[in-house]
Symmetry: D2
Subunit: 299 residues, 4 copies
């Protein structure tokens, strides 16, 4: 037996950047959370505390802010690639960079037609659009090296109030669940999708993929959450040639029909108790069979 | 010295109800979180454990579900009043009820024009609209007794990327803050407003009050967050005669301009660090001087 | 109708200070979260944005850090009083200060007898003791003015696996709960207690009050959570003459006996499902009838 | 291109079980959170919604409760193995089970010597010990098949108030960090360790591994958090022959020395600001070079 160092990485997590871009009095904002993770020739750091190979996480944070100024923050996939390549390209000891970004979206506060003030020329007021968070996860071995781009979203909470059945499953000695041909199906979608390449119309691709997920959820008459998940992934792949693999995690957020019969009331799927825990959790992936293998893209 | 029982109340908190209403294949959903709190002739419960005056919290929960079926869940203020009056009117030992409701809003998933399926006749798919939460807080001494209705919202996150100054404040030996005539002003608004009476067009009143808050935030050139808060409350009172008092709590979510000069970059309010803690916290109220006093409305 | 400004206050919330005190190689740490809130002559701030009366929240934060150095952080009640008095005494426009502190506790990592290193002389390693949080809430109109000190704790999670009954309550048309003479009683205690004066052996008083709460919880054969709450408050008042009022909020964290009969198993209160929501919520106060009135102490 | 189903799994997450064991009036409790995930011959579930291969998550939950009764809940690793084997052994379509358990620890409330009641014979009162959470993650292909057991903990928050340096790192154009030979080192340890086999004295092994982590953290004079992490893993492997691999994730919870010089105060590492975000994140593994490979053990 000999004790050895295994896989390792380090970086600055959750640098919260808000980037304002100004076009006269009209402002745009990008609100992101950037997490960097680097790996490479770092054995001595662990074994002896020699920091010669280390680009400090503080410097990584500074770089994020400086790049936000120099290159602006456009599509998050692009900004992540820019950062990832910079760290690997500029530091001989850094062989690999992983950059993960979350983006929070904001809407303008619609004051255009407000007669109180002449605000038409000034647009600098925003309200957070608290819907799902857009995400990306980029890996890079440096410019010209192996790279992968995964886009995604999380906390897209959706619900079908009918159009969902569940029956025909295994019954064993611990089964008490009744079969049903009508239930609520609700979930909070976490989805990530891998791109074939490293350049794309990221914004358009995101909006379309999101629409595919939503539409497939809504349009699938569901016999199981697994079936719905598969249809959602399939819809994305069918619609977007630039995407080759979709991974999803979907909790089955149980909505139980309340038994109102003790009160002389029937309840034909009208009143539900929304439970917190436990919940079902369905995880699955859908991919093109010709998708290039890239297990490290998801790590 | 004699030890005595002071003010007390009890109830079922956070009953999560989803109510589906069906108009043919077109469904609507109301997604609410109901918290009931009762008080009255409860001394023996505390002193001796005699539960004769107690309507169990389990029964309160059942009542919430049964009422959701019998009376539907319309505007939350109305549903809260219905519940509060029921508890006081039906139980001699219950002299007072407090009902608090949070409502989470959902949008339809727009599948109307989708050619895949003939879904025009079926509308049962929803996506959670993760913006602010609508709230209400109702107190009732029973039908015909003293009552109050407070509506509100929380987690309305807003940001002005310019149009905010801060200067002219006290300087003492612990002052290091620089004065500024241009900063980001960002906050997560919690606002509650008290109605003069107990009937109103609650939905319309809510939407208008919300718009007043948003517009006043956007249109106020701010010299202090206090000033903005006051303008927001004032706008609501000016616009809505049915409302007599507004209370707000607004954290000053600091966005610090990052010093990029070490990297040879200027930063004219373009790149900000969004800090978590500490934060300023501004709390204030604005009211009509003829508003009836009702301190218990807010408890 | 005239729109007027109502009660208001402002301050810096959640300044996170860790104070290290060194006695040779032996260190002690205090880990606190300080929230300051000031009020006074602040109308112009709201009405016109004139900040002349404002001591900025940034300065409040600086003061917290500077005082942690100058006066150390001892008992949190003392540190809160020191800060509160400073703000009122030093600023004519500040008439009242409210200081709230949370303290997180740490244990030493016991390495004393470890043969690897001669660490007996160095004590600087700590592990967070993740139990309840100690709290205090201080109000001051300045040195010599009206003042109040409330100490407390939150998230003290306790459970009796028997010794709790619940029966004899009201039955109405919405009752389905079965009476029981044996159930789990579990809660997360939030308790606050008001001191008669503004000086005390705060640390000892806290430890004794906490012990009273725990022992009364454990030793009360409970017919209702209300009864338990009352006994807990009573025990504190009986034991601690320096305390004149106790307020508690105790969620009834339901543990439901799982029905295992479908699987041919009985379940004599051995297997429970710990539910999240809804939960009962019991709030109550116990006080000396000769306690000086001080409603503002709790705000 | 053909769209195909990739890896998938499903199960019931976060079943919250409290198991009471009674020895006369002396009770013991185990408080756990069980998450089950099954995979196997599930293609038709996704492709056509045919649930014939599905053991519903509701049944999984029932099984957890029934097993808690039949077999008690002892060491979580054992309970997880029991469940995992059951699901695979009993269902032909289930080829693999993953069971993850979190355990929350409780202390007795010490009322033994209390004169108020004769409680010596009754021990049923507990206070939650809010320290770290014990965890395990078990994979099983069924009795006699491939299996792995990973034990661990999370949220073990530790701090060294001195004995940590950081210097000698790369300087580039984005570097502003000053080198230091004395800083606070604080982290919240998440650690998992893989066992060589599937039987052990789990409780003793856990306690010893935990002690190794704590002691190595305390006793390492740290030149980098990576070095500390490595020493912690190394200590576990040196001490516990039954463990062959340790994986850790340790956020560098920054404690910044507050600059008090504007107030005429020096600050020789006495007053710190505890920051929330961003934070460093160090992830690494330490293993025996003769450890059997088992990448799936960690998924």
């Amino acid at each position: 037996m000999a004790i050895v160092l295994g896989p390792n990485r380090y970086g600055k997590a959750e640098t919260r950047v808000v980037r304002v871009t100004k076009d006269g009095g009209t402002h745009r904002i990008k609100d992101v959370n950037v997490s960097v993770s680097l790996s490479g020739d770092m054995d001595v750091v662990h074994l002896t505390g020699d920091n010669a190979p280390v680009l400090p996480t503080d410097t990584q944070k500074n770089t994020v802010f400086a790049f936000a100024k120099k290159y602006n923050v456009g599509e998050i996939e692009e900004f992540a690639l820019l950062l990832a390549r910079h760290f690997v390209d500029s530091q001989p000891t850094v062989h690999h960079a992983r950059v993960e970004i979350e983006e929070y979206s904001w809407d303008r506060i619609p004051v255009e037609d407000n007669p109180h003030l002449g605000l038409r020329d000034e647009q600098h007021s925003f309200v957070r659009n608290g819907s799902e968070t857009r995400t990306c996860l980029v890996h890079s071995d440096g410019t010209g090296g192996e790279e992968s781009v995964v886009s995604g979203l999380k906390d897209l909470v959706v619900l079908n109030s009918t159009g969902s059945e569940f029956h025909g499953y295994i019954k064993d000695e611990y089964t008490t669940l009744e079969e049903t041909d009508d239930r609520i199906l609700a979930t909070a979608v976490t989805a990530q999708w891998r791109h074939r390449g490293t350049s794309s119309d990221w914004g358009r691709s995101y909006r379309r993929a999101r629409t595919c997920l939503l539409e497939a959820f809504a349009e699938t008459h569901s016999l199981s959450l697994q079936q719905t998940l598969y249809q959602m992934g399939r819809r994305v792949l069918n619609d977007r040639r630039e995407i080759c693999e979709v991974r999803m995690a979907m909790p089955n957020k149980h909505h139980f029909v309340v038994d109102l019969s003790p009160f002389g009331l029937d309840n034909p799927n009208e009143v539900f108790f929304a439970a917190d825990r436990p919940y079902g959790l369905i995880e699955g992936s859908v991919l093109d069979d010709d998708a290039p293998r890239s297990p490290s893209a998801w790590k």
